[in-house]
């Protein structure tokens, strides 16, 4: 079959629907190893869109490529935890063995080597993806063996000699990933009665379910902390047919991996929660937006959906109730942190680039395909199902006054026991550090790069919406770490992940990072700290979505909490000469070209 015909077939398999462009180009990429630009026109025609829209989508997502990639794409996780655990040495080993640099493809077309943002394996770092297969606990020594095996058998799945625990060993997953569940809380990881939540919800009216949800005080676990019951109520009351339930399984905040474990161990609970939401909102369609990094869990999730359809828990007349119809599809992401932002996630589900949208209108009023849409995080839906089972009072009594329930925390970095801790809200940082074995931590990053870095004096603070909100990422840094290296890595992350839609985020982050680099190189002056502060605040205040509103946090929070580190790096200079200007470096290319040295400056 010719390429054109294959593409036509792929487009047809998605009903030539432009809103499925993400799936179309992802499938084309899987088939051809890239999305061939010479076929953009054809794809556009077949998918009823425009050529430039196809280019727009392909150029937006980091897992999509317009250049032919290797049969095995090796994506090494570059988050700071992986770096501290030796990712750079692993990268070097791959580069050496393959004879290529990061970002390149071997001439034989077998391998492409790339960095990628956090893949949600910080508890078993350094980690990488070989196509969809997760490789954990990498070392430079393992690299030659991995490549040799892949040369013999290009299926990366064959690299998995031993599966991890629980769902990781499911025949549909077969991943070397470990759950690393260190502490089970009573809401999510405790044993639960399957479908009890859904059954009990269906005994009530939708209004009663919403009232329970509101009473429980369940707040969105993705970060913003909006009351889930209120969101559902808005969506229920919004005018419009064909409402949608979206589940955000795009946890991209570096250091977070709690949804990975929920998806592996509590997929049923999550879908049960979505079904409860569908029941009270009156939605017939749900979408789970699964980040590309978790593609290895897709087959498991599809299986769960199929099983539930067969059991009458999804599809038409759910649990025998006439008129209660609800089904779910999985939408794969393609490598874009910003798609964790709900309006970006919706754009992405609609088959376009993941630029965030304007609010208002909020998704509850006009979301996916302009219909009322409830978007919640994996953990939120899981909690919702449990609230229905055990009752709002039970849930409300766990945690703190304004933060009900437990929180799944993914803790990683310089600690003895990295992993998943499900703990009631209100737990202090000091208590956490004791649990994970990191009492001497020099700094703790709460909420990932978009959160804040705490110094020792703040370890008495509590994980909660009212004090230290977090989507779940907690990174621990020991005394041996250069904290500004951490900050630099976080800023690099935001520069890479900014969608570029609005000026402050597109430009501000680049400028912030450049100036930080100058300071780290010892070329900073005290005025540079004020520069960072002002620029950071402008970026925070003027940016359009949550990404830019939080991206300066690594710098702003360390300027506040770790000021002495900065102060030690900057020096006052009264010479009037710009310290950042290095004339010898500036003449270097000319020296090389002319074979001369500077008569003025090479004294």
């Amino acid at each position: 079959m010719g390429d054109a015909m294959k593409i036509e077939q792929i487009c047809k398999s998605f009903n030539n629907d432009r809103t499925r462009l993400m799936d179309i180009v992802r499938t084309i990429q899987e088939t051809f190893g890239y999305v061939p630009p010479e076929h953009y026109e054809l794809i556009a025609r077949e998918a009823n869109t425009h050529r430039v829209e196809v280019e727009s989508v392909v150029s937006f997502y980091s897992f999509l490529s317009d250049r032919k990639q290797g049969g095995v794409v090796l994506r090494l996780c570059n988050d700071i935890i992986d770096r501290f655990k030796g990712a750079d040495a692993v990268a070097e080993a791959f580069e050496k063995e393959l004879g290529i640099s990061m970002g390149e493809t071997t001439p034989d077309g077998l391998f492409t080597l790339e960095w990628t943002a956090c893949i949600g394996m910080s508890d078993q770092a350094p980690a990488a993806l070989a196509n969809d297969t997760v490789l954990t606990h990498l070392t430079p020594e393992k690299v030659p063996g991995i490549l040799e095996a892949l040369r013999k058998n290009p299926d990366p799945q064959a690299l998995v000699a031993e599966c991890g625990d629980g769902g990781n060993a499911d025949p549909l997953v077969k991943a070397m990933v470990q759950n690393n569940i260190c502490e089970r809380g009573e809401v999510l990881l405790a044993d639960n009665d399957p479908e009890a939540g859904l059954r009990k919800a269906m005994e009530k009216t939708p209004e009663e379910v919403i009232a329970d949800m509101k009473e429980s005080g369940l707040r969105g676990r993705g970060g913003a902390g909006f009351l889930a019951g209120l969101k559902w109520e808005f969506t229920r009351n919004a005018k419009g047919d064909g409402k949608y339930i979206l589940c955000n399984a795009d946890e991209g905040e570096p250091g977070t991996f709690k949804d990975r474990v929920l998806l592996t161990e509590r997929a049923d609970l999550m879908i049960e929660g979505m079904t409860v939401a569908a029941y009270c909102i009156g939605a017939e369609t749900g979408i789970v937006y699964l980040r590309a990094e978790y593609a290895y869990l897709r087959a498991l999730l599809e299986e769960v959906l199929n099983r539930r359809r067969a059991a009458g828990l999804l599809g038409n007349s759910i649990c025998g109730r006439d008129g209660f119809n609800f089904d779910i599809r999985i939408q794969m992401g393609a490598g874009a942190y910003v798609c964790g932002e709900e309006s970006s996630l919706i754009s992405s589900c609609e088959g376009t680039r993941g630029d965030p949208g304007d609010r208002p209108p909020f998704p509850a009023i006009a979301g996916y395909k302009v219909a009322p849409t409830a978007v919640n995080n994996v953990e939120t839906y899981c909690c919702a199902a449990r609230v229905m089972d055990k009752g709002p009072v039970w849930f409300e009594n766990i945690g703190t006054e304004h933060s009900s329930g437990t929180k799944m925390l993914s803790i990683c970095g310089d600690c003895e026991r990295p992993g998943i801790y499900e703990l009631p809200f209100g737990v202090t940082v000091a208590e956490l550090l004791e649990k994970v074995g990191a009492e001497n931590a020099a700094a703790v990053q709460i909420g990932g790069p978009s959160g804040q870095m705490l110094d020792r004096s703040q370890y008495g603070r509590a994980i909660s919406f009212e004090d230290l909100p977090t989507g779940g990422s907690i990174m621990v840094f020991g005394r041996q770490r250069d904290l500004l290296e951490v900050v630099d890595a976080f800023m690099e992350f935001f520069v890479d992940e900014s969608c570029g839609y609005c000026v402050p985020c597109r430009v501000g982050n680049v400028l912030l990072r450049n100036r930080l680099e100058r300071i780290r190189n010892g070329k900073g002056i005290p005025e540079d700290l004020a520069y960072l502060e002002k620029l950071g605040i402008s970026t925070r205040r003027m940016s359009r979505c949550g990404l830019g509103q939080t991206s300066p946090n690594p710098i702003l929070s360390t300027l506040e909490n770790f000021r002495p580190i900065y102060n030690a790096l900057v020096r006052e200079d009264r010479s009037g000469l710009a310290k950042s200007f290095d004339v010898l470096r500036a003449v270097e290319p000319a020296c090389e070209l002319t074979g001369r040295r500077s008569v003025i400056f090479h004294a």
Binding site: A578, P589, A590, T594
Partner: protein, 181 residues
């Protein structure tokens, strides 16, 4: 009391800003009542003879000599003014800033459409200052105190700024005098 000294220089510029300075016409008589020129192409004084109140810097830095002169200006002047777009943002010379130096050399001396160079000689006399990797706006090399954009800044703009500075008035440009072209 001796008059304050003013120094001027044209680095990677076209002397257009200096021409604009001369465009103040008869006001130059008023100006020399107020100041003495020190190092400047206007009086052809090559080295600083005194500490100067004001240094007017035309052009950014495209080579090592520009850097040297600019650093000398910083050492000898109380107030330094980026005078014109080239000093302020690199200007036309900075159009080479994303082209590698080798390509610039090739275009200028070897492969350019109007180049006649049968011996394929690229000038490389030790007297020739080494080019920098890119053209730097003046303030990236030394601290500059004021910026006068414009290509060139108009004579009126210059006059307004100089007289304000020399009479200790705040330097504020009215709307019509702040122009980037």
């Amino acid at each position: 009391m001796s008059k304050p000294k003013v120094a001027t220089t044209s680095l990677a510029g076209c002397f257009g800003c200096h021409m604009s300075l001369l465009d103040i016409d008869e006001r130059i008589l008023e100006l020399v009542e107020l100041i003495d020129f020190d190092k400047s192409p206007i009086d052809d004084i090559k080295t600083f003879s005194n500490r100067c109140a004001v240094g007017l810097v035309e052009g950014g830095c495209c080579n090592e000599e520009n850097v040297h002169v600019l650093q000398e200006f910083r050492k000898h002047c109380d107030v330094l003014i980026s005078f014109g777009d080239c000093a302020t943002m690199g200007g036309i010379p900075a159009m080479r800033n994303n082209i590698p130096l080798t390509e610039c050399f090739d275009e200028a001396y070897r492969s350019g459409l109007t180049v006649y160079n049968p011996d394929n000689i690229v000038p490389n006399d030790p007297e020739l200052p080494l080019l920098l990797d890119k053209v730097y706006p003046a303030h990236e090399v030394v601290k500059m105190d004021y910026f006068l954009p414009g290509c060139p800044p108009s004579a009126d703009t210059l006059w307004a700024v100089l007289t304000a500075l020399l009479t200790n008035q705040p330097v504020e440009l009215p709307y019509e005098l702040l122009k980037y072209d």
